[in-house]
Symmetry: C2
Subunit: 196 residues, 2 copies
């Protein structure tokens, strides 16, 4: 109903402002004001600014990991796996642009910063998930022995940078769809290189 849920209003406000100005660049007062509450209300639900960031990550990140995990499990062939995971990854990046951009930003924030500490464990889980795609495949194919992690790096690197450039070029918040053909092209390039 329309009864106001201040906790969610605060989370939504934090999502928007962390996206617009970054975790360090925004003040607690500003988050509270945009949510239409006062600071003590914010501190009632979240014990600190860092706790607010943690809550935000915990609210959204696990669902993303689950969706990617499902995409990985419910695909049969190796190329289908890559395609489904890439599609899901890009879908999340478009549907949840603000959160995804925050994720990317925290990943590249200084290692001793609070932001990096908050995202660290999620990053590892994400990386492990991508690595597993190639680990499992290794049972059937012998040729990627010992290079599973390099492949994961390459795959994630391509996807992340593709998304970053995509954001940069569509600064209005009405994002055009990424067609299946484009995603296929990306995955195909990753699998078979650039000469084809």
């Amino acid at each position: 109903m329309n009864q106001k849920n201040n906790k969610e209003l605060i989370l939504q406000s934090a999502l928007e402002l962390f996206y617009e100005k970054g975790y360090e660049g925004v003040g607690v007062q500003e988050i509270a004001t945009r949510a239409g509450v006062t600071k003590p209300t914010l501190y009632y639900y979240f014990k600190s600014k860092y706790g607010l960031l943690e809550s935000l990550l915990e609210t959204k990140y696990p669902a993303i990991l689950d969706a990617l995990d499902e995409a990985e499990r419910t695909s049969d062939s190796f190329s289908d796996k890559l395609l489904k995971v890439a599609s899901e990854y890009i879908r999340v990046a478009l549907n949840d642009k603000q959160f995804f951009y925050i994720m990317l930003g925290l990943q590249y924030s200084p290692r001793q910063s609070e932001g990096h500490r908050a995202i660290e464990s999620y990053n590892h889980r994400m990386f492990d998930l991508f690595t597993q795609i190639f680990e499992k495949q290794n049972v059937y194919l012998g040729n990627m022995n010992g290079r599973q992690e390099q492949f994961a790096i390459g795959f994630m690197g391509i996807l992340n940078y593709y998304i970053l450039v995509y954001y940069e070029r569509n600064q209005d918040d009405n994002l055009p769809v990424v067609t299946d053909a484009e995603i296929f092209s990306l995955v195909h390039q990753f699998m078979h290189g650039i000469f084809s």
Copy 2:
């Protein structure tokens, strides 16, 4: 000589602190203190905190672009080009870790933030440089028509993410060398995919 050059001391201090805490996460006072000067001295050389960031980028970024440009120009075959550019890119990332990490971080910082504004034009130049590798090649090969930018994205994405993971795994500041074989493997994967 040992006469102190405060301007360079400040730039060095800013380099270290932006690396450790990020542009937003560090205060002007802290930069001045570490440099062994007072705030007005800092403001004498740099008109603002943002100006200090601009100076830092202008001090280091052009040389990197030049080095990459030279690597691109002084190579003959296409694969040699990719290899030389990748080698130079990784070399910079290892030799100038602090600056390179700042670059990466600014790239993923919020678009309306000062940090992003400061790095924006350099980013475009870097991207154009990578795109040109494939543009030029297009004269000789027809098959990458219209996909030059996608290739640039893939190539940069792989390199950047490789470097990020490399940093993450070698948190001590004494970085192990990246062998030519590893770089070759990365480039080879980019060119020919993962099945070989």
